[in-house]
């Protein structure tokens, strides 16, 4: 396969698999900052393989395999990190009590378009928050599917979304009040 053919195969595969690879990396890395680097490393390894004319039976599985290895390489532990509970058991119980029954998450409106602020905020939180937000808003996963994917309960996922959005809304309002004064 010459360089042009390799690049063409590479581009086609990249377009087709990008979303799944980013999702995998976000759900398995420890830091939102690392996602871009790890994704690049995955596809560079893939390019190296096709450029060396080595056959690949199942491209999607192969890419996920590389992604798994690259994530491990970054953090270098053999077994999956324990997904730490975001809140203590006491907090979890209190949150379930406090959320009003009629709260609908999409109705918490954020008026400001502050992507930089949102990204910095997400990076400052535990990686589980970024995972939940990515799966909920970017991948349109329902709460149950997110809970299964991240080995959490559905109520935990909803708690994280609700609590984080509330805090983000408060911070954005605080910042815009600060800008106005």
């Amino acid at each position: 396969m010459n360089v042009q053919n390799s690049l063409q195969t590479f581009e086609e595969t990249y377009q087709k698999t990008y979303s799944d690879i980013v999702k995998y990396v976000i759900c398995n890395c420890s830091n939102l900052e690392d996602v871009k680097d790890i994704v690049q490393e995955v596809y560079l390894s893939f390019y190296k393989r096709i450029d060396a004319k080595k056959d690949i039976d199942n491209v999607e599985s192969f890419l996920i395999g590389i992604a798994k290895n690259k994530v491990k390489d970054y953090y270098h532990f053999r077994y999956k990190e324990k997904l730490l509970s975001l809140f203590s058991k006491k907090d979890e119980f209190e949150l379930i009590e406090q959320i009003p029954a009629n709260v609908n998450i999409p109705e918490i409106i954020i008026h400001q378009e502050q992507m930089d602020f949102v990204w910095k905020y997400l990076k400052s939180k535990k990686i589980t928050v970024a995972r939940i937000f990515y799966l909920y808003y970017q991948m349109d996963y329902p709460l149950k599917k997110i809970a299964d994917e991240l080995n959490m309960t559905e109520s935990n996922v909803k708690n994280v979304l609700y609590r984080t959005l509330k805090e983000l809304n408060r911070l954005i309002q605080k910042e815009s009040e600060g800008n106005e004064s």
Partner: protein, 237 residues
């Protein structure tokens, strides 16, 4: 703007598909240019290396390849490791953290734990309450109890996790690894009279060997070859 639009725009901006693709393409182009230059450099380099090799081979080498004080002849061959040829495995295991108490007991039982040549800056617990390692249990056949102790693993790392060593050992058999690499041909090294299988690429090294009835599997990231070999040597005393 509702949250969905805001977060979608944020993720699209900071994990931009096209931007990442452009970055990858730049790296591929750089690699292709370097490949072109190598085609001219390799023959010249080969001639130089051949000349040096002929000169050195005229004088017999004595003593260890690694350390002057070691009287045995060591022979080091680091098999290359193509990290893209990885096969993944999932084992049904349970990990139980090694506590302070169990760590002290293990040091009594496995004397090498007290003499390991760990590179400076790396330790078992660079941060308070860090997990130093775990005892790995498998199920007893025919049961659902993870009661069969199979291996121990120790995790050494530096403060920012850029360097790490995983030391796995077992009396029962080769330690589990959750990824395996396929290589066409491998050659054994000899360190202090012991056969050791060594792999390495890009500051990532793996060693597998048996010593005094214990099976070892060690992998290290971010340390250099000399540091890695010194670590292996410290076990094989």
């Amino acid at each position: 703007m509702n949250p969905k639009e805001l977060f979608q725009k944020t993720f699209d901006k900071y994990l931009n598909k096209e931007e990442i693709y452009q970055e990858i393409q730049k790296k591929i182009e750089k690699k292709e240019k370097r490949k072109g230059k190598l085609i001219y450099l390799i023959p010249a380099t080969c001639v130089i290396l051949l000349t040096i090799g002929l000169f050195i081979s005229a004088k017999p080498l004595h003593g260890s390849f690694l350390f002057e004080e070691n009287q045995q002849e060591d022979s080091i061959i680091i098999n290359s490791l193509d990290q893209s040829m990885i096969s993944l495995r999932d084992y049904d295991i349970k990990c139980v953290e090694i506590t302070d108490e169990s760590h002290e007991q293990l040091k009594q039982k496995y004397s090498f734990l007290s003499r390991l040549a760990i590179p400076s800056g790396i330790s078992l617990t660079p941060h308070p309450s860090e997990n130093r390692g775990c005892a790995v249990y498998t199920k007893e056949p025919g049961t659902n109890d993870y009661s069969k102790l199979y291996q121990y693993e120790y995790y050494y790392k530096n403060a920012d996790y850029s360097k790490s060593i995983v030391l796995a050992f077992s009396k029962l058999g080769k330690p589990f690894r959750d990824y395996y690499f396929m290589e066409d041909a491998t050659q054994l090294s000899t360190i202090n009279g012991n056969s050791v299988l060594l792999y390495g690429s890009d500051s990532f090294y793996i060693a597998q060997f048996t010593y005094q009835g214990t099976f070892f599997d060690i992998d290290a990231k971010g340390i250099n070859e000399q540091e890695f070999l010194k670590l292996i040597d410290s076990i094989l005393q």
